[in-house]
Every structure is written in structure tokens, then in C-alpha cells.
């Protein structure tokens, strides 16, 4: 019995699981580790405190405390409506993170399915699907999203994320397709078919696990990008409605030159938050990329 346990232990050393490889890579890369801790900390803090903050209260206009500089009552001052910037920063970070994660997941799912189908079946199906994808890829993202946001009648956070998703799935679809094209030529896919495995199972049980690592890396990097895209659109006034502030909403106050020049406390903290979030997510993504590609590993 004891001998058996020992054998098991040896096996674990011989073939490290995916998770331990990633962990080793993170430990080696101090920057990525700090980034990860920062991300976990910020996420826990904003989601935690947002429970106790009353969003209605924060976005309510208070005419007696307009443009207060940072002080004792308001840690980060107030905006043109006398609203607490610090509270908006917390809620904004939460909202920005939520929508970025949501859009990343939705684009991921669409992209994966689209890419797998196109790559696995190939031929005419692939041809047509790629033409459609090319068209979406050519459209300038900001412009088309703005146009859609402007005409949607019942505009909400959900419609916003759906519009973003509709024009952001192409990158991952293309990546998954090219991996699937390469992967399906390998004999194990052919073998699975001779063993009586259905196409559906071949795609999701054989193909998907073998392209999953690159999908995870890509989605992490996309998450960073989506934080930037969302705040950019909110900055222009085509993202979140004003009743649900995001980091971009805070930055959009800086479109007023007076605010930009004299009231830094409104837009600088939000800018820093966006920058730090994006850098941190990217750092983690790069570490993941190295963990996935054995040639680049440091650990």
C-alpha cells in the first residue's frame, strides 16, 4: 500500500499538471506575481465595498458640494454634480471590470465555437465563414459601435455589452480556427473518427482541450483590451449610461477643458486605475503565455 503511494507521488513529479506549471511561472516572474496580487486585491476591494456603497446615493446630485477638492469629507473630492469621486471610482472600477469580464467571456464563447467549426469542417464552410469574419474585421470598431449605440432604442448595460461582443469575437475566432486547422491534420483526430467518435465529440473533447491553453492566454490579453475599449467608449459618452458610472465616465468629465486643467482629482485617479488594471492583466497574460509555450518558460 505504501509503495503504491510512493509511485503515485513520483508520477506527479514526472508530469506536472498545467496548474503547477503556471504557478511556477508566476513565482519566477515577480512582476506578474505582484500584478496578480494587485488584481485580486482590487477586485476583492471593489466588489466587497460596493456591497456597502449605495449607488443611488453616490450618483445623486448635491449642489452644495460641487467641485470640492480632495479633503477630509471627500477623500478624492467631488465632481460637477457634487458627487463623491472616490465612491464613483469604486463603483466605476467594479462596473468596468464586470463588463470587461462579461464581454471577454461572450466573445470567447462565440469565437471558440466559430473558429472550431470553421477550422474543423474546412472546405466551403470554412471559406464562407472566413469571408464573413473578414468583413467584420475590416469595420472600424469604435465607429460602428458608436453608430449602433446611438440607434438602440432601449439602451442598457446588457445591450452595450452585446454590441461590443458583436464586433469583438473575430480575433479569437481566427486564432482558434488556425489552431484547429493545424491540429485536425494530426492522426489523433482521424483516429478518434475511426473509433466511432461523433464530430461533436471530436471537436469539443479532442480539439478543444488541445487549443485551450492558447485560448486562455488570448482571453486574458483580451480582458485588458476590453477594459480599455469600454472606458474609451464611456469616455466618448457611448458606453455606460450616466446612472451607472464606469471608469470611463469619470474620465469623460475631463472633456471639459476646465476640469482637465484645474480639477485633476476627478480624472487622474480613474486614469491611473485603468492603466494599472490593464498593465496588471497584461503582465499576468504574458506570464501565462510563457507557461503555455515550453520554450519560453523561465521556471
Amino acid at each position: 500500500m505504501e509503495a503504491n503511494v510512493e509511485v503515485k507521488a513520483k508520477e506527479v513529479i514526472k508530469s506536472p499538471s498545467g496548474f503547477s506549471v503556471v504557478w511556477r511561472e508566476l513565482i519566477k516572474d515577480k512582476l506578474a506575481l505582484i500584478s496578480l496580487i494587485f488584481l485580486i486585491g482590487v477586485t476583492a476591494f471593489v466588489y466587497g465595498t460596493a456591497i456597502f456603497l449605495d449607488q443611488e446615493e453616490i450618483v445623486k446630485v448635491d449642489l452644495f458640494s460641487i467641485y470640492e477638492p480632495p479633503g477630509e469629507e471627500f477623500i478624492l473630492g467631488t465632481d460637477y454634480g457634487g458627487r463623491d469621486v472616490f465612491g464613483q471610482l469604486i463603483i466605476g472600477t467594479r462596473n468596468s471590470l464586470s463588463i470587461a469580464i462579461l464581454v471577454t467571456l461572450m466573445t470567447g464563447i462565440i469565437g471558440i465555437i466559430y473558429g472550431l467549426v470553421s477550422g474543423y469542417f474546412g472546405g466551403h464552410i470554412d471559406n464562407i465563414m472566413m469571408r464573413i469574419l473578414d468583413f467584420f474585421l475590416i469595420l472600424p470598431f469604435t465607429m460602428i459601435v458608436i453608430a449602433f449605440v446611438a440607434i438602440v432604442p432601449k439602451y442598457s448595460v446588457w445591450t452595450f455589452s452585446l454590441i461590443m461582443t458583436a464586433f469583438l469575437w473575430m480575433g479569437i475566432a481566427r486564432l482558434v480556427r488556425s489552431k484547429a486547422l493545424a491540429e485536425k491534420e494530426l492522426d489523433y483526430i482521424q483516429a478518434a473518427r475511426t473509433l466511432g467518435t461523433s464530430n461533436f465529440k471530436v471537436v469539443f473533447k479532442h480539439l478543444l482541450p488541445n487549443v485551450s491553453s492558447i485560448i486562455i492566454v488570448n482571453m486574458t490579453i483580451n480582458l485588458a483590451g476590453n477594459i480599455g475599449l469600454e472606458s474609451g467608449l464611456s469616455f466618448l459618452g457611448f458606453g455606460f449610461p450616466e446612472s451607472t458610472p464606469s471608469l470611463g465616465t469619470l474620465l469623460s468629465y475631463a472633456r471639459n477643458p476646465q476640469t482637465l486643467e484645474f480639477r485633476w482629482w476627478i480624472w487622474v485617479p480613474a486614469s491611473l486605475m485603468i492603466l494599472l488594471l490593464m498593465l496588471a492583466v497584461n503582465n499576468v497574460g504574458t506570464a501565462l503565455r510563457r507557461a503555455v509555450d515550453a520554450r519560453q518558460r523561465r521556471g
Binding site: D134, F135, P140, T142, M143, I146, L236, G237, P257, L260
Partner: protein, 320 residues
Amino acid sequence: MWKFSVRRILIMIPQLFVLSLLIFVLAKMMPGDALSGQIDPNIDPARIEELRIEMGWYDPWHEQYARWVGGVMQGDFGMSFRFKMPVTELIGQRIVNSFWLSVATLILTYLIAIPLGITSGRYNDTFRDQLITGYSYVGFATPLFIFALVMLWVFGFQLQWFPTSGSVEPGMEPGTFDYFMSKFYHLLLPALSMALITTFNTILYLRNEIIDTKQKDFILLARSKGASESRVYNQHIFRNSLLPIAAFFGFEITGLIGGSIFIENIFGYPGMGQLLIESISLRDFSVVTATTLLFGIASILGALISDIILSLVDPRIRIK
């Protein structure tokens, strides 16, 4: 080569068709019509109905679409009901400004990217290379609009080195040298802001390309024949790595459009991007439709140009 080009142009036709259809549907879905802003509200609603019928508002959609496309082909985008002038005329002024902004941005992008990319690729894994890749890494993670805001704040407002809005000093005589210089002066900060952020792509591409080429057999051969280091780089490596970069500029157009929407709004620069945002908030939908269509066509043409140039440079693409 010509075969690829013809096929590529044929692909473009359905793309243009779908784009125009998409924008037509968008325009139809937009609230209100050309009359709702133009006409005195005191006019009898029955008369408005008559006018609508006259203008073909209730015709089948394909007839309306055909009429719209026909108009666009002749350069007629309808009337802007806010500015009370033909959209074509309105766009005419803005498009020139946007064009120069794009040209300046592209030139600056390449001016920054090529030396940095070459240095980084040639001396890879040295301190210089780490500085450059570090810069492009931060550039990759920084949203354009935040960087532009900071640039405007620092160089426009705090240091006051550059103007903070407009495309030219008011009251200048068009055509004079001062007018030209003023335009250039107003262009510089927006173009530089955009170039500094968008350049990272090109830098990293160039770096990887050079590092790749460095290890190819024909470079080893050139070295073994005793070619000097600078000759190896100038004659062999750069030629192979720079050509694809030149071809990418068509793809850059899509990025430039996205960027110009932010840049023009932040710097108060009167171009197409600003016009788009303005007309959406003013609900001036005939202008929105026109700008969206023009931006879309520009992107499609950009991709076409790049694909064709790339096929000239890189024969592997032609086979696909």
C-alpha cells in the same frame, strides 16, 4: 499577381454591398427623418405626410436603397438639417483636416517605429532593446485616449507649448505660409499623441522580423562570404523586413479611424471623427450615415491596398 488582384477586388464588391446595406438599415432605424428637423412645426401634419410620400418615405425598401446608393455614387448624401447645408459640402471641409492628421500620424509612426524597431532587432536582448520593448509594452497597455488627455494636459495646458483646440489660428489668410505653419502647429500634438501609442505594433513586428531573418541561412551565407556587418544589415536584413511594414499602412487606416475619433474629440480638432460624435449628439443622422459610410469604405480600400501590396512583396500570400 494580376490574378490575385482581380480576385481580391471581386471580394471587395460584396463587402461594399454589405457595408452599404448595413448602414442603410442603420439609417432607417435611426429615430426621426429628414423632415422632422427641417420643417416648421406649425405646418399641418397632413402636409408633412404628403411631403413624406412625395420624398418616397413609404416606398419599398429596395427602391429607397437604390435611390440612396444612386445618390451616394453621385456624391449626394442629402441635407444636414442642423447645419442647413448639403452633407457633401460639410464633409468636404472636415475630410481634408482628417486626411492631413492621418498623414502626419502615419509619418510620425514610421519615423518612430523604424529606427526603434531596427535597433531593437539588431541589438536584441541588450539594454537598449529592453528599453524599447518596455516602451512598446507600456504603449500596448495604455489606451490612446488617456495618453492623449495627459499629453494635452501637460503640453497644452501646463507647459502651453501647443494650442489646445482647433485646426488653425482664427483669422489667418488661407494659402499663406503663416496659414500653413499654423495648420502644421495645430496638427503636431494630436498626431504625435496618436503616433506614440500606435507605433508599438510596428516596432514589435519589425523587431521580430529582424531577429527571425538574422538566423536565416542566407544571412549566415552572406556573413561567411565575409560581408561586413553593416552590409549584411543594409543589403539583406532590412530589405526583407521593411517591405512588409510598408504594406501594412493600408491596415493602419482602420486603426487611424478609431484613433481619430478619440484624438479629434480630445484636441477639439475639426475632422471627421469629431463630426461623427457631434452629429450623433445633435441627432443629425444624414451626417452620421455619410461619415460612417465613408469611414467604412476607407477601411475596406485600405485592406485592399495592403493585401495587394503584400502579395507583391510576399508571394506566399498569393497562393491562399
